[in-house]
Subunit: 224 residues, 4 copies
Amino acid sequence: MAVRTQGGLGTPAGTAAAPEPGPTGPTGPVSTESAEQSVPRRLLAVATRLFAEKGFDRTSVQEIVDAANVTKGAMYHYFDSKDDLLAEIYARVLRLQMSRLQQIAASGGPVADRVSRAAADVVVSTIDNLDDATISFRSLHQLTAEKQREVRLERRRYHELFRSLITEGQRAGVFTDRVPADLVVDFYFGSVHHLSTWYRPDGELSPAQIGDYYADLLLTALRS
Amino acid sequence: MAVRTQGGLGTPAGTAAAPEPGPTGPTGPVSTESAEQSVPRRLLAVATRLFAEKGFDRTSVQEIVDAANVTKGAMYHYFDSKDDLLAEIYARVLRLQMSRLQQIAASGGPVADRVSRAAADVVVSTIDNLDDATISFRSLHQLTAEKQREVRLERRRYHELFRSLITEGQRAGVFTDRVPADLVVDFYFGSVHHLSTWYRPDGELSPAQIGDYYADLLLTALRS
Amino acid sequence: MAVRTQGGLGTPAGTAAAPEPGPTGPTGPVSTESAEQSVPRRLLAVATRLFAEKGFDRTSVQEIVDAANVTKGAMYHYFDSKDDLLAEIYARVLRLQMSRLQQIAASGGPVADRVSRAAADVVVSTIDNLDDATISFRSLHQLTAEKQREVRLERRRYHELFRSLITEGQRAGVFTDRVPADLVVDFYFGSVHHLSTWYRPDGELSPAQIGDYYADLLLTALRS
Amino acid sequence: MAVRTQGGLGTPAGTAAAPEPGPTGPTGPVSTESAEQSVPRRLLAVATRLFAEKGFDRTSVQEIVDAANVTKGAMYHYFDSKDDLLAEIYARVLRLQMSRLQQIAASGGPVADRVSRAAADVVVSTIDNLDDATISFRSLHQLTAEKQREVRLERRRYHELFRSLITEGQRAGVFTDRVPADLVVDFYFGSVHHLSTWYRPDGELSPAQIGDYYADLLLTALRS
DNA sequence: TATGAATGAGCTTTCATTCAT
DNA sequence: AATGAATGAAAGCTCATTCAT
């Protein structure tokens, strides 16, 4: 991030204290990407869509700023580089996924239930943010080495949390330990990340159904 | 493809019996990528490595021809474009995977055995050609629309064959039909394609072991 | 200059008697460049250092204001442009050198003594303000045509004064007139300006020693 | 330099063996900068003129290639960067000056004569290549650190050779050793480098006269 | 069959300056 | 007296591809 002012993107930029008016706010037309939101938000939204559609390297900064109705200078006021935009997208995804998993992991109930809920939930939230998924499984190598490291680290922390649920189930005897928990995690998240290559909103199955099927497959494979 | 030469790349590379003499004859140096092979082979080998390492868009034609010890003119003699190189890599991968799956599908034995063998085999062969896997899960959108269609078609044919084994098992009652066969295929190949993001040659598990674990997970999930 | 404020930069900086209280009053931190001095002074000090270090074109306004702990708006309040900063630096240097030379020229004693003292003094004062010297011999062409003219004019007036001392010596018969006085002046100030390219504070010779040697070389060359 | 072919710029680029036709060659019009010469030569000639006129940072690559009647791509085919162009100019200057000094140093005669000839010659050759002089005393900091080091090294070798003549004269007793030889060299070359700031072709003195005067001043200052 | 100079469009990024507050 | 978001023009550089030889 570039911006010399207080307030990054976790908290809305532009105005320090009050969150900016949502789509139902008092002024202006309603279009998620090109009005009513703060400049950096709009840029991120647009960049996410374009990176997913055409790939990072094939999306020019010009296209992004045009679509966001902003000048190039403005973009570089808020972001250090095109790369920074991508890094911000990764950060947002990881933050979101991690917080959802943490909530589920911390909730009560039998471990199998928690794993099942986590497994289904990550499917639904991946489908809800399909562009993010497309980008994050395809563009890691387009980040700087430094930022790749950060992303990998964060991703590992996520995997470890998920794995800890699996091993908890294995110790409790409800999951088989024939297969190493590590491998199970990689196995499952491979499936999840690839949703973006085949899921179509007009398909027969709803996100929730797919989530349930995926969770079923995982749980059945693990049941000892 | 451009190739106005005889023979060459139409026949599957993997199964070529005799290694062809390089342009420098029997005395030239021995290096898989930059001598002893035909120019187009060398270009494909080098391109595969570089595309996997740095991504398609970040690999310049100049880098490819330099690494292959060839001039640009020569490259454009054999390939229509940089794009063509990528398409050729996709074609090679698909050809190889398809032929292996066909062989296993056509072999005898109980359907569960065939699925298990196919599941384990695709893991091993994916690991054996990890660069191909990296490229093919990351670069589809860098092909022209037309070539994307071709690749998708071919990939669908592959999936259908695999799916037919699953449905065979379901009809035979050895696999559950709780989960649609289609979904199972996508689920499993997601895991497989993602091998390229985490597999490391120096890891604890051998390719064969990983293949067995993956097949185990799939078969257990399916066992009715 | 923009300055719409009272006092400030019109009076020579070097001779200001009382250090002015900084904007943070008596309790602020003490650092020549970023506190305790008035904003325009700080900007000039910082700009001088940065222009000498990296060159005028390679120093951005942002860098200057950051280093001076000031905002862009503030800078543009005091200076018309980046160019104006440079012009101010030139003006300061010329004012300083001129006043020193005038003092020496007006002092009594044999003309050879006065030339000798002037020659040594300009060396010492150049070394004392080495950044100024670096800038002024390298950045003239970065001023607007108009300001270049002004600087050249002022510089010529300085040279004329020095030259008048030489011709005085020539007329008095203590200096040779084999070489035109004009040329002697250019010859000598070339040497002086170039001090900034080779002088190092950790060198063996002190500024005063160098001044004496330079004066010796000049006087010997002139002695008839 | 970029160019992947044999033959740099010391030897004429373009054709390997035969030096390209001079301005009197058989084909094409006669204009030093934009025709009949090889592309890299033209680029260097044009760049030298523009860098001297407007400064390195204020000369755009676009201006250079326009003036040289060449496309940007062509420029980047021959030079790695705009920086490389500048480095090449420095290299050319240093090569030339060094070779002239070596010739004079190696010639016979009393040491005072050799110093005198060298001193006068460097003035004349500096005036003959005034653009080079302008650039080289003003643009060193615009080279990369690495190339600055190279230039400084080469320049030091030049100074050492000149200094060795001075010390030879000091040991022989024809020059005073009141002033360190090192300092004398810096003193004199300051004067020489600054020729570019005041010399005008329409001035009263010819280059040769100026050379003689400069040599006179130096020699008189040194005569013991 | 192969060369490599040359093209030209497009890329990301920088930056002095303005202006509503 | 000061802020800092925003502008818009221009910068240096890359690269797939062509073509005369």
